[in-house]
Subunit: 318 residues, 2 copies
């Protein structure tokens, strides 16, 4: 039997035909074309799903279900509450796709399906309880509990980025203050670095961005910190301090075997992980039990299609 | 079949013989006598377990397992890392009790077994995902996920009281700063009220405690706030603000059907719950989805024995 995984992003739609072990048989993709609206995007998904099946001549009867990872929040019934990049609000994506495809459709957040991908084919494989975090412009999370994906009673859980952990100098895009993502995302690092530069601190960053703080990016900040730049180092240290606080919070709640970190910021790799576990240890309630592994996520571009396909499998088996 | 529930507290040991539906057939109790040390306490538990069975003439073969709720932290194998009130460190309670009783023994935190009690006989009954919080001198938590008790991969999870949510004016007893319990526990309210009084604020509390801030307690603060006292109201408002922030955090992570609040502070009842759900709504990521019920826990004194007995049942069936 096979599953279809749909990775719906703000710029592209990737669709994969997946075995029940999470191996990709075929994949196709196309542009999202946000300006076409929900109906246009749903037609594109339908077209790509049919194409990915037809190209390899697999009978539709062998497809058990379709999973869709969305850049937003949906409920258990496939209703997308919002997906900012797509300008969607209250789109019954599950229902509409089921009508068109005549297949069961399961929908969840892109971070949640990436957690599923890591569980089947990546770094959290074989564990019972794991957390996946994707750190980029924001911070998203996915949870595997007792080897099953967990999204909450109504499908709106695992919004790890919006745990309040303090009072911050700027508000989160969600309207609250102190959300974890406002301390550890790429956006957070850029804002904090920008603040230090505007306060007149000397930095090699100044010449690299020609004084234009809108040109800052997380990679540049990590690179300059690695070279010993003080402003960049302050920004990286602050990010890692609050990353450790949030990881400590999650460990004190979940006590998972492993936390996997993916997303753009995870590109800083070993520089990000250096001393991180010791720093996390400061925030763990049960002293001497700093036992949760912290690792970089393993899967790259295919995480979305593998994860959404395997998500559909998990939900069908519930 | 029957289960034994042991509620091991700092002052008393309560033991119940429980049906597989969570009904109490018989219960006995005795003093903890902390000064006797682990061996003495384990002998007392053994004596009480035998007594609770013998008094009702139930053959030992009908007892499936023993659950123990402890005032501390243990791992999946019944090793108690610490239990401050008992002055215990690294006591292999599960192993020692199994030897003496010749029965399977399962051990967890008192808040976790109380969560199980509420799930079988209390306010979270019938739900899939629920959180139980006990707010007293500290803040403890228990989790039910997909109708199963969850304590983490190593048994050290659900330490909700030690989620860092800000920077506070005093450190937590665990050594960290900013733990949720340092904002919302009875201790937190007393410390904050004491601080305001020491800063010279007028309050009816001053005369009630004869200027001795060590006589403050949470009930007095709630009562004075209900009468309109400004200092007491500030302390209650602060507590409720941070209670809402923490509840919002838990909802953004777990999206449970219900959160039940027990413990001494829950004695403030409707005064505690008043406007709380609206306040929590401010911190929920998915706007308009303020759908988690917040309720007072239903079970009183018997929560410990029912919960630990039913905990043993749940673990045996895993």
């Amino acid at each position: 039997m096979y599953y279809i995984g749909v990775d719906l992003g703000g710029t592209s739609i990737k669709v994969g035909l997946i075995t029940d072990k999470g191996d990709i048989i075929n994949k196709v993709s196309g542009p999202t074309e946000v300006e076409k609206g929900a109906e246009g995007i749903i037609n594109s998904i339908t077209y790509l799903v049919k194409k990915v099946i037809e190209e390899v001549n697999i009978p539709i009867e062998l497809i058990k279900a379709v999973g869709v990872g969305i850049p937003g929040v949906s409920n258990n019934h496939g209703l997308v509450y919002f997906a900012s990049n797509l300008f969607w609000k209250n789109i019954p994506l599950g229902e509409l796709l089921e009508e068109k495809l005549k297949l069961r459709v399961f929908i969840d957040n892109d971070a949640t399906v990436a957690a599923v991908a890591e569980f089947f084919k990546g770094v959290t494989r074989g564990t019972n309880n794991s957390i996946f975090l994707t750190i980029g412009t924001g911070l998203g999370g996915g949870l595997i509990i007792n080897k099953k994906v967990y999204s909450g009673s109504h499908g709106i859980g695992t919004e790890m980025g919006h745990i309040v952990i303090g009072e911050n100098f700027y508000d989160c895009s969600c309207g609250k203050n102190g959300c974890w993502e406002t301390y550890v995302s790429a956006t957070a690092m850029i804002k904090y670095c920008g603040k230090l530069l505007k306060e007149g601190n000397e930095s090699i960053l100044n010449s690299l961005i020609n004084g234009d703080t809108s040109s800052l990016n997380a990679k540049l900040i990590f690179d300059c910190a690695a070279k010993g730049d003080e402003v960049a180092s302050l920004a990286v240290d602050r990010m890692k301090k609050y990353l450790a606080i949030g990881l400590g919070n999650l460990i004190n709640i979940f006590d998972p075997e492993i936390i996997a970190i993916g997303g753009g910021v995870s590109g800083a790799g070993s520089f990000l992980l250096r001393n991180l576990k010791d720093e996390v240890g400061k925030y763990i309630y049960v002293k001497g039990m700093n036992v949760t592994e912290i690792a970089l996520a393993k899967l790259g571009n295919d995480a979305g299609i593998i994860g959404s396909g395997m998500y559909a499998k998990m939900k069908l088996e519930e």
